[in-house]
């Protein structure tokens, strides 16, 4: 990989930039007093979408009809497309049932798709945030009255880092789940509070977030959540790319493990 897709670029007037991050392609053009932005699925993003390219464009971009224009009076030459975490928590569902017996703890790696944040100018101004991949909505809570809207992903819940393929549009979060209760904890799904996480670029070009420790106390679906500040040690020498969306307190209690909802509740009322 030559240049990471989040690298800062300088553009001449009339020049453009095409950045591919996995399945997403973003094109930014610098014009007089304005920036033009368009995006769509990456043309080569078929396969596993593990491609990331940065390309300079001189000709005006005509392919896409959906163009957005941003008026910026000041002369700005620099543009940077940054990886940020999604704007809602992610509900992670292991593909294979995972159980944590009482007193045990487990570390798994979860990789979640990022959002691309287009920033230009001096100081940096955010033009738009585009999800690399539109994730399915889901609801996380004990009932349909009480809970929160989130995104859903499925994970292999790998324990070995080497088993995770490095993909440029996903960030890896090491998650430690500790079970301090007296019952076995079935990890059917858990809530990854990504809005509290920042994105780091690790040594080998892989993207990371902070380490998360979730401790399940006595009973209940709530868990003590701890975001360990700084890049995880697996990342090596890492550079912080973006800040978390929400400032996390040292120890937060979040709804982390949820029981299945009965879909047959409700009958045939409209």
């Amino acid at each position: 990989m030559s240049e990471p897709w989040w690298a800062e670029q300088d553009l001449e007037l009339g020049q453009g930039l095409r950045v591919t991050a996995g399945p997403l392609q973003v094109v930014a053009f610098r014009r007089e007093d304005e920036w033009q932005l368009t995006w769509g699925p990456a043309p080569t993003g078929g396969g596993d979408g593990s491609v990331s390219t940065v390309e300079r464009l001189v000709e005006p971009y005509e392919e896409s009809a959906e163009l957005e224009r941003y008026a910026l009076r000041a002369e700005t030459t620099r543009v940077r497309i940054l990886p940020v975490m999604p704007d809602r928590p992610i509900v992670v569902k292991p593909r294979v049932a995972l159980f944590v017996p009482p007193g045990e703890s487990i570390q798994i790696y979860v990789s979640s798709p990022l959002w691309a944040q287009v920033t230009v100018g001096e100081p940096w101004r955010i033009l738009r945030e585009i999800p690399v991949k539109r994730l399915s909505d889901t609801w996380f809570g004990g009932s349909t009255l009480d809970g929160e809207v989130a995104y859903a992903i499925r994970t292999q819940a790998r324990i070995q880092l080497s088993e995770i393929s490095a993909r440029p549009h996903r960030a890896v979060t090491p998650v430690v789940i500790r079970n301090h209760s007296d019952d076995t904890l079935p990890v059917e799904r858990f809530n990854l509070p990504v809005t509290y996480l920042s994105v780091y670029a690790g040594e080998n070009g892989r993207l990371w977030t902070e380490n998360i420790v979730m401790t399940r106390g006595e009973g209940g679906e709530m868990a003590g959540l701890e975001v360990e500040p700084g890049a995880p040690r697996e990342a090596g020498e890492a550079e912080q790319l973006t800040e978390p969306r929400e400032a996390s307190e040292t120890n937060i209690l979040v709804r982390a493990f949820s029981n299945l909802l009965d879909p047959f509740l409700g009958g045939d009322d409209d």
């Binding site: 509900v91 994730l135 909505d137 889901t138 609801w139 809207v149 879909p263 409700g266």
Partner: protein, 284 residues
Amino acid sequence: MTELWGAIEPYLTLEKTFGLLRALALLIVGWGLAKLLSRACWRLTHERLARQQAVLARRAVFYLVFLLFLVAALNELGFELGVLLGAAGVLSVAIGFASQTSASNLISGLFLIAERPFGVGDVIKVGGTTGEVLSIDLLSVKLRTFNNLYVRMPNESLIKTEVRTITRFPIRRVDLFFGVAYKEDLDRVRDVLFEVAGDNPLCLEEPAPLFLVSGFGDSAIDLQFSPWGMRENYGALNNSLLIEIKRRFEEEGIEIPFPQRVVHTAENGDVVATPPLEESDDAR
């Protein structure tokens, strides 16, 4: 003119003028004090109570204090309060009978404000009317329907009938009812429906969609398919699901049958002709 003056003059004694001035002073002081106290009440309550409740409390304080001073002022003018109250009693019975509807709306309004089944900005459905609540007043609730009409709903009718608050919870279920032909494999239909829901990002993964075979109809097996979505995506989800289900059913060759009836022609009780059963595909 002089006759008129002659009629008024005996009343303009010094004592009476003083009484009038005192009454006027009482009214002015009362008005000021009522204003002051109601403002204090607003400051105390407006953060803790809902807006409607705080407004109500403020008005109640104002009118109560002002009424006390008004009574005192009338007393000062020489009205006998006992007689006045008696008259007021008779009058209130008369007014009560005359304004039965308004009074019942008023009481209903108080209950509505206390119970808070919905707030300003919520979307509610009452009878056949769906709209956004603009204000909850003592006599009526004002709605703006989605075709931009201004609807006034008497509070009494809201207390009496079923009111649905559509924007109460963040997620909603989209209920789709349709039928498939008797020849279809229901397991395959179910799989196709779940695939459609799974591919639609607006459709919530959880709670899982509800799939119900609701019965054997006249011309089709009746199904209910109900995925969940976020409240604000209700319309978009409903449309995208129906469009996608129709497309997928056509691709998979799953038939949504039209109502069909087999007719036997009979003469003197004997069946003389039975039309050949046509493939319902031909009907298209």
